[in-house]
Amino acid sequence: MEKGRTKVLEDLADAVERGKLPEMTELLAKGLSGGIRAESLLNDGLIRGMMRLGVKFKNHEVFVPDVLVASRALKKGSEILRPALSGEGVAPIGVAVVATVKGDLHDIGKTLVGIMFEGVGIRVVDLGVDVDAETLGKAIICHKPDIVALSALLNTTLNQLAEAISALDRAGLRRRVRIMVGGSPVTEEFAARIGADGYADDAVTAAQTARNILEQARRER
């Protein structure tokens, strides 16, 4: 039984890494009918595959299209598991609000981050583009996210990242969330300068970083 379980989970991780949706669907059905807990199928199978893919991305062995296809597969896998996860009382590891800052209408960076976040099991609330601090504040109160991920693509809107963080601070909401920032003109140094909690150079790394933040928080609870 244990050997069979290990094999299903390993094959699942492998199917996610290769973005093979039909194979993954079949393995999920096999796992569920074989008595493997949905939480284990998600974390030890699907997410493990995605985290391994993240490492390969860092090593330039795979590229954004590979991770994107795998994320799409994982999202569908999570949907298949949702009823069983709910039955087991398992909640997503965390919630992230993603948005492009005020004055910036660029969608792609934020959307990619959202897809990659979902690909590592994080529930995403996408606020869209041109999002001001007040809307962010309302979303924090309403959705109670663990992470707020903000994108700016223009040099002219870089300042808005700092503005948003200051405004959340003034509203007393800053400490409720971890704030990650990213986008073409954003550098690690800039992220540190404006007091962000996390920065990533690309959407894949952002998702891995977010997952690590959430796992760390879970361990500390």
Binding site: G19, F57, H60, V62, F63, V64, P65, D66, L68, V69, G103, D104, L105, H106, D107, I108, T111, L112, D130, L154, N155, T156, L158, N159, S184, P185, T187, E189, F190, R193, D201, D202, V204
Partner: protein, 418 residues
């Protein structure tokens, strides 16, 4: 005090020497600017909106910047886009300051949207009949003011008298065609204004950096047809379609660029922004096959007709630079310029030494948020590691929007005193 004509010749030679990998009389300093002059001289009242609707005001700000800082070229990156035409053509792939109802302030640069103007199922239609696809689908989708073109078809059956042209009777087709004619007239005015600006800058002693543009076919597909997301999925699922579309776009561009051969232009350089080939977004194999292969033909044509391609990379290129160097080695030394937004400039200079002129190096974030001391240190590093022997032009990491005045001053002063 040299006159403007002499200054022009000196600057042009300085810039050309650096590009040709020869030691110039001094390091060319040519930081490209977008919104910076508007921010530096608020009393002029120019904004990005002026560059779309009020060319005189925009021109005044850019001239003031050049007169004050005396760069080694006309560093105005992009301006004089056709705002009035955008108001009736209504492009759906962008928003711009001045559009009725825009959330953008006048000080914002225009912003592009990533929408799929061509669905994944439509590659074959594009490839089978480019013109039909462009007229009946692409233009109506990318300009609300040209939606009527979706019904514009010439059917030669029963070709009595002028019956094949009967679709022109539809009011929406007429409205679209009228917008096209109106656009042509407005664009001619914009061209004239921009030409006058370039001429005026030449008169003031500032040679243009480039006089035409091109784009890697892969970027054309990703930026304007499939969107980044669509293209990323296509890279995984239908690379053969990407290859075919890029071949088509390369051919169309080469036809236009070949016509530049004998054009009487003050400098022969072509600006080529590189958008979607950065690290991570495409595998090394697909970069070679889908990105560079069709693009290389464009580079070759430009070099063959005596033009210098200005390869302007955006994003991180650390995994690409050795490959790019190898490809540029196929051309005579100094045939191309290459701008880097990121990277170790000392290493880049070594890598491209004897191959191509590099430019860039001063981070825009530093110019806007950093200190004067940081800028001085950075410029000294760039001068020390890149200036010797030519093959380097001092520039920022992108076209500058906002910056502290003292940092801009520090950049020019340090580059010239080092």
């Amino acid at each position: 005090m040299p006159n403007n004509e002499a200054l022009y010749e000196t600057r042009l030679k300085r810039f050309n020497d650096a590009v040709a990998l020869k030691e110039p009389d001094r390091l060319p300093v040519a930081p490209w600017v977008d919104g910076l002059p508007y921010a530096l001289y608020p009393e002029i009242g120019a904004t990005h909106k002026s560059a779309l609707y009020d060319y005189e005001k925009a021109m005044a700000a850019h001239i003031r910047f050049h007169e004050e800082f005396q760069p080694d070229a006309n560093c105005t990156n992009s301006m004089f886009l056709n705002g009035p035409a955008a108001d009736y053509l209504k492009p759906t792939m962008m928003d711009w300051p001045g559009r009725a109802g825009t959330p953008l302030p006048d000080s914002s640069i225009y912003q592009m949207f990533e929408i799929e103007y061509m669905k994944e199922s439509e590659y074959d239609e594009l490839l089978a009949d480019y013109t039909k696809f462009i007229f009946n689908k692409y233009l109506p989708r990318s300009f609300a003011g040209l939606e009527g073109l979706s019904g514009f078809r010439i059917d030669p059956s029963v070709a009595i008298m002028n019956l094949p042209l009967a679709p022109l009777a539809a009011p929406e087709v007429q409205a679209a065609l009228e917008n096209l004619i109106r656009y042509g007239k407005d664009q001619a005015k914009a061209n004239e204004a921009f030409g006058a600006f370039v001429g005026r800058m030449i008169g003031l002693g500032f040679p243009p950096v480039f006089t035409s543009y091109a784009e890697a076919p892969f970027d054309v597909l990703s930026d304007y047809f499939r969107g980044t997301l669509g293209t990323l999925y296509d890279q995984a699922e239908r690379p053969e379609k990407i290859r075919a579309a890029c071949g088509l776009f390369a051919g169309i561009q080469k036809e236009r660029l070949a016509s530049l051969k004998d054009a009487p232009l003050p400098v022969k350089r072509v600006f080529i922004p590189m958008h979607k080939g950065m690290d991570g977004f495409i595998s090394d194999e697909q970069y070679r096959d889908l990105y560079w292969e069709p693009f290389h033909g464009i580079l070759k044509l430009l070099v063959d007709i005596g033009y210098t391609p200005i390869i302007y990379t955006e994003g991180a290129y650390s995994t690409r630079v050795r490959f790019i160097r190898e490809k540029l080695l196929e051309f005579p030394p100094g045939s191309c310029m290459i701008h880097f937004e990121k990277g170790d400039f000392a290493e880049l200079k070594k890598l491209f030494s004897g191959v191509a002129c590099i430019f860039g190096g001063v981070p825009m974030q530093m110019l806007e948020f950093g200190t004067r001391a940081e800028v001085v240190e950075r410029v000294k590093y760039l001068v020390d590691s890149c200036a010797a022997g030519g093959g380097y032009i001092l520039d920022a990491s992108g076209a500058i929007e906002n910056a502290k005045r003292e940092n801009i001053e520090a950049m020019f002063e340090t580059a010239r005193s080092a």
